[in-house]
Symmetry: C2
Subunit: 433 residues, 2 copies
């Protein structure tokens, strides 16, 4: 699993300083509490509550699967303007659990809202009348197993008891660990940016691509900001930026019943109101959000099961972005390409095959392929200086860049994936033995 | 590789007797000659000529890849009504070879037609004026390597010298071996049927799914019949039957630059003329052709790299065939499903995932899943008698049947695939070490 991720941590947004997730600290308006509900056998943290004391604006994107887990159904049914809490459990996906799964969430939402209302009175905050509809859920783990309502409900008082109104890097790390299933590493990212003159934080955690019996590659990503932004603006920003980040990664081409990415804005920083995502004042935030999402998405790929290499596939100069995306995903999904890279084999023939089968029309005379900076194919012909030894040497790198020029237009798309190793097969077939 | 194929050999067409490829013998109007052109280092047969002394009607389907090998381009450019010879070479795909590749074929076609004309005079047959446009080519092997024109052209006299006007099972076996690349087994199939009162033979050979550096999963299938059928009828029959056979198999989801399936009719049996594929007299031939194609397609899958299990995925009762096909291929392409089956794990959660991500809308309450005859999910719920031990035991079989009932209509589609094992990764990544 030794992929070096140091290259993900740098920030591309101009006025953001270089930062590590070690820098994650307090984000005003949010409280995090994490406990073990003994959903696993080893007492690890498996239940995380994110509580917004004054509510949070929010936007979500969910799995495109036609079979949805019960928590995604619950979340889709809540049309309220603010969210007061997100509860995330691991070990059980609450998918294929039917009425038992859905009713469990309903009861949990009632209890959580009731307990949070009591807590607000107790803390002498101005009490809000939090309703069950202002609670949403993230679930990940086994599908088709009875939802462990009893174990979870027992821990709600404990979670609420642990609420503190300041965070530090340790609680962020605890949350990132608490939402993991078979991930081998916690996934955190952050950026700071500005909206007008106001300094804004964007923090994020994610899990993904680790799987456990019966094995869903659920991706969860939760982004938190202290900016003041409406649900509509959050929704537009999330949809726009998810396309080139979480929707530009491929581990094994599978999609779960539970995928979920949500952004929450606590509105604690009183930046000037943003009414359009074309407003120049939001540009810096937009870039920073893209960095956070891309950073997390890359961490999910690099922790992909059995991954030994991180692969970046840039398809450039296409007629339109859809074509570029199709070609990039055709390469990223090809088991032949991914096994060749695992074997450190500069097998450009397989890349050609994957480009050909992608669908969009190719003018072979204009096709160019580079591995890193090494020209392999130029104008549809093997490059005159092609030296297989040089390319074979390049393949030993942990980060492999495949650069494809279609040269029929000016649209690009980049996809991130990892190689396909024996380890993947072992993890996914041999775990019973 | 020990998948037992005995179940493929039986014939479903009512009046065809049960037969093995050992029964392949003479097919009138065809001559086969096979030699080694030393394209491999070990002197194996690698060049096969199929010669039709009075020409053959024919129809082809080719790869859907947008990058075509030079031989596919050549074949597409020939619009003549009859074919006199098909030349198949292995080891070199003649793809990404540009002008050198195409011009080589042109020169070969000229030489072959010239030599065949000489041969016809020599044999005191009525000489036909065979033109280069009546020669087509099958190529499979490495892409992007210089086409070995010299080695091939040197063997043309030898191939023509070997022409005999009768075949037996040994020459069929030699041809099936001669078109192999890394296949581990030759692939042959046959049926006998009737058109009207006339007994008709349908013989076929295929290769596929074995790959060699730089590794194309080229599928080649050649079907020969002694029936009298027009190009139009052959074309309609081939297109119709390829859908449920070669276009219903998936090894690793990759498509080559060279895929080719062709049917040749020597017109030696003077059956009554067929003007429409709806003619009742062609029904028996239609079924028999489907059997031959399906038999060959199954052999390709079961020889898929690293395959330890043969998987049949039946998706039934869909609104339309396109939906059924999408769902079946989504399951067949899922590496998670295929690794679970390799691990003999009754992981129905992964099947649910693959159904969900396929695209078509699913009414969960109507979904049923069976492994073989064992009910897993019924009406969207885990079956009351579900016994994991029973299913785990079923998974030990070499032939795994996944039966999915969508229950929203009456259209079905069946896809054939194999499991994904460590062996696949080894073959495709480790061959340099």
């Amino acid at each position: 699993m030794g992929i070096n991720l140091s290259n993900f941590i740098s920030s591309k947004s101009k006025n953001a300083r270089m930062m590590d997730f070690q820098d994650l600290d307090h984000l005003d308006g949010l409280s995090i509490s994490v406990v073990s509900a003994n959903l696993y056998k080893d007492n690890r943290d498996d239940l995380s509550m994110f509580y917004f004391r004054d509510g949070a604006n929010y936007a979500s994107v969910y799995t495109q699967s036609k079979i949805l887990s019960e928590n995604i159904k619950w979340n889709l049914n809540q049309k309220n303007k603010k969210i007061f809490s997100l509860l995330v459990n691991t070990r059980n996906a609450n998918a294929f659990t039917g009425k038992q799964g859905y009713e469990s969430l309903k009861k949990l939402a009632h209890l959580i809202s009731k307990k949070l209302n009591e807590k607000q009175i107790e803390d002498e905050n101005t009490p809000k009348k939090i309703t069950p509809k202002e609670i949403i859920f993230g679930c990940t783990g086994t599908i088709g197993e009875f939802y462990p309502y009893e174990k979870i409900v027992d821990q709600i008082p404990n979670l609420i008891n642990k609420i503190r109104y300041t965070q530090n890097k340790f609680i962020w790390m605890k949350a990132a660990l608490g939402i993991m299933t078979t991930d081998t590493k916690p996934k955190l990212a952050m950026e700071e940016c500005k909206i007008g003159n106001e300094k804004i934080k964007i923090y994020g955690i994610a899990k993904g691509s680790g799987m456990i019996h019966p094995n869903m590659a659920t991706t969860l990503a939760y982004i938190f900001t202290d900016a003041s932004l409406s649900n509509d603006i959050l929704n537009r920003l999330l949809k726009k930026n998810i396309t080139t980040t979480f929707n530009a990664i491929s581990c094994d081409g599978d999609t779960s019943t539970n995928d979920m990415a949500t952004i929450f804005a606590t509105n604690k920083i009183k930046n000037s109101p943003i009414k359009s995502i074309n407003d120049k004042k939001i540009r810096n935030f937009d870039n920073a959000l893209n960095n956070v999402l891309l950073n997390l998405a890359k961490r999910v790929v690099s922790d992909g099961e059995g991954a030994s290499k991180f692969i970046t596939i840039k398809v450039e100069k296409c007629k339109n972005e859809i074509d570029a995306k199709k070609i990039a995903f055709s390469i990223a999904s090809s088991t032949l390409v991914k096994t060749a890279i695992a074997g450190e084999d500069p097998n450009w023939g397989r890349i050609v095959m994957a480009i050909g089968k992608a669908g969009p029309k190719i003018n072979l005379k204009k096709l160019s392929i580079k591995f890193g900076n090494i020209k392999i194919v130029q104008d549809g012909k093997l490059h005159q200086a092609y030296d297989e030894k040089l390319v074979a040497n390049y393949m030993k790198n942990e980060n492999i860049d495949l650069n494809i020029d279609i040269t029929t237009g000016n649209k690009n798309f980049t996809v991130y994936t990892m190689d396909l190793t024996n380890k993947y097969i072992e993890i996914n077939s041999d775990y019973r033995s």
